[in-house]
Symmetry: C2
Subunit: 276 residues, 2 copies
DNA sequence: GCAAAAGTGTTAATCGTACACCCATGC
DNA sequence: GCATGGGTGTACGATTAACACTTTTGC
């Protein structure tokens, strides 16, 4: 664990921050369980008119941890498959807002970097089969003409989040919510493998076009962290000095203070993304 | 008009081709008017169940002619606005197929370069107002709860077509179908200005990433034509020789024969996109 | 002082750009 | 032959990659 030492009293400040974060996350998690919308299956099966029919949103939430690019997945209750966090679009909300709502429910984060990247709308997407399986688990008596059993067109979003700030929270259909390395995904429901794959391709493309990588790191980060992020996602390697020069030449980073890790070497500088 | 001379008898061959093309387009145009689906308003208002509700497709069809990038637009009957070709997604077809169907109906072309680029799904897209106006023109007695009056989420596609091969054909809601220069668009209905703008941005981005420009030209083209295409879309200018080197270095063009225009200068080579 | 890791500086190679020149064509 | 426009070759500058070196830190 890295500790940021501003002064000798710094450690205490940081530890305090971690504790506050933990408790606020806890409070948030319980708060969500009381939310009036789609909190359980009864809502899920009765609120058809609340949503735009046959349209869903799937989110590929990327995080970076332990030198690995990760994706947040939900384990469907009593089924041996995982799925991307997703949901439906309310009649009164925009599609981006819907994605944000879903993201906040699963991660507890607001103000997330979010982009749509593709619509998945093939005539024979394998949605019906899975929804049917899910229903067998939860509501074997449900009718066959239920709205969720129709064909669905899904808008794919990808999100870049600060791994350390996320408190994964499962929804009412799933029993757990965990990070998986993109290179080692479990068996995914629906066409979520394809969706994840496309999201990753888009992320790679955007990375050198738009410099969005910072969103995967904490507010301040070392150059090495940034470099290893780029190297992991793009599956290449750069020279330390050249990478640094390239990043700094873009004039979007500002150097903050030094990071003392306790290691017997020169302390690296921390950088922050210039917001303006 | 450029004439391709393979031999002294070439002119006749070419002229013949032009004539055949003209007649086949004419035949196709009349054929479409007999198509069973959505051929008129009666169909339009009665076939609700055929389509996925609240979901539409809008196509930004790009063409290149006279050194200008053009977009194909429809003039709505009795209204002073133009609109992008669009339509709805049938329950039995994929979204890409829907876009292709719409494209074929308006241009007569199959096998078109087509990509989705963004979904427009803000909660308050100005669709209702325009559909209401359209209905006042066509069906003033129609009920207010008609399916087309709901909120719609629209998937934006952009298409790159060979201008010379297109025979613009209006649909039953419009009185004409014409090309407009992207720099001088008329008043557009709905949020179609925004959609067109985003399509153009995506096209510019894709142009140097994926080399899709060829789809806007005929099968064979001169290097100068390709260059002027790039210059027009990207709004820059390149050096003749450097542009050529860059293009040829990518190893995706093959040189075919020379093009004799009758001008008193060296005949340029024609190039073709290597399909494999 | 030394090892480890970060930071800086300097050279070599590559790429893009600008310029000059050569070639084919019709009058 | 000459004007016109297309094609090719080369030199220059900028950007990028590779290498060497210096600085900071804890033991």
């Amino acid at each position: 664990m890295i500790i940021l030492l501003l002064s000798h009293y710094g450690t205490i400040v940081i530890t305090f921050k971690i504790l506050t974060k933990f408790f606020s996350n806890f409070a948030r998690a319980t708060a969500y369980q009381c939310m009036p919308i789609m909190k359980d299956l009864n809502d899920f099966f009765s609120v058809k008119d609340r949503y735009i029919p046959q349209l869903s949103v799937d989110c590929v939430i990327f995080g970076f941890h332990d030198q690995q690019l990760k994706v947040l997945l939900l384990k469907l209750k009593n089924l041996d498959v995982w799925a991307l966090p997703g949901g439906y679009v309310e009649q009164i909300e925009g599609i981006d807002e819907a994605a944000r709502r879903i993201l906040e429910e699963r991660t507890g984060l607001t103000d997330i970097y979010l982009e749509q990247f593709r619509v998945f709308g093939a005539a024979h997407r394998p949605t019906k089969e899975f929804i049917q399986k899910i229903m067998e688990v939860h509501r074997p008596e449900a009718k066959n003409d239920l709205w969720v059993l129709q064909r669905f067109v899904s808008i794919g979003y990808y999100a870049l989040v600060d791994f350390s700030k996320v408190t994964p929270m499962p929804d009412f259909l799933s029993e757990s919510c965990e990070w998986f390395e993109v290179k080692q995904l479990p068996k995914l429901a629906f066409d979520h493998s394809e969706i994840t794959q496309k999201a990753l391709e888009t992320l790679r493309l955007m990375l050198d076009y738009k410099l969005v990588g910072f969103n995967l790191l904490a507010e301040t980060f070392t150059m090495i962290e940034l470099q290893s992020l780029y190297e992991t996602i793009l599956e290449t390697s750069f020279r330390r000095n050249n990478f640094q020069r390239k990043m700094l030449s873009m004039n979007i980073l500002e150097r903050v203070e030094k990071l003392y890790t306790g290691a017997a070497n020169k302390a690296p500088y921390l950088y922050r993304f210039k917001s303006k």
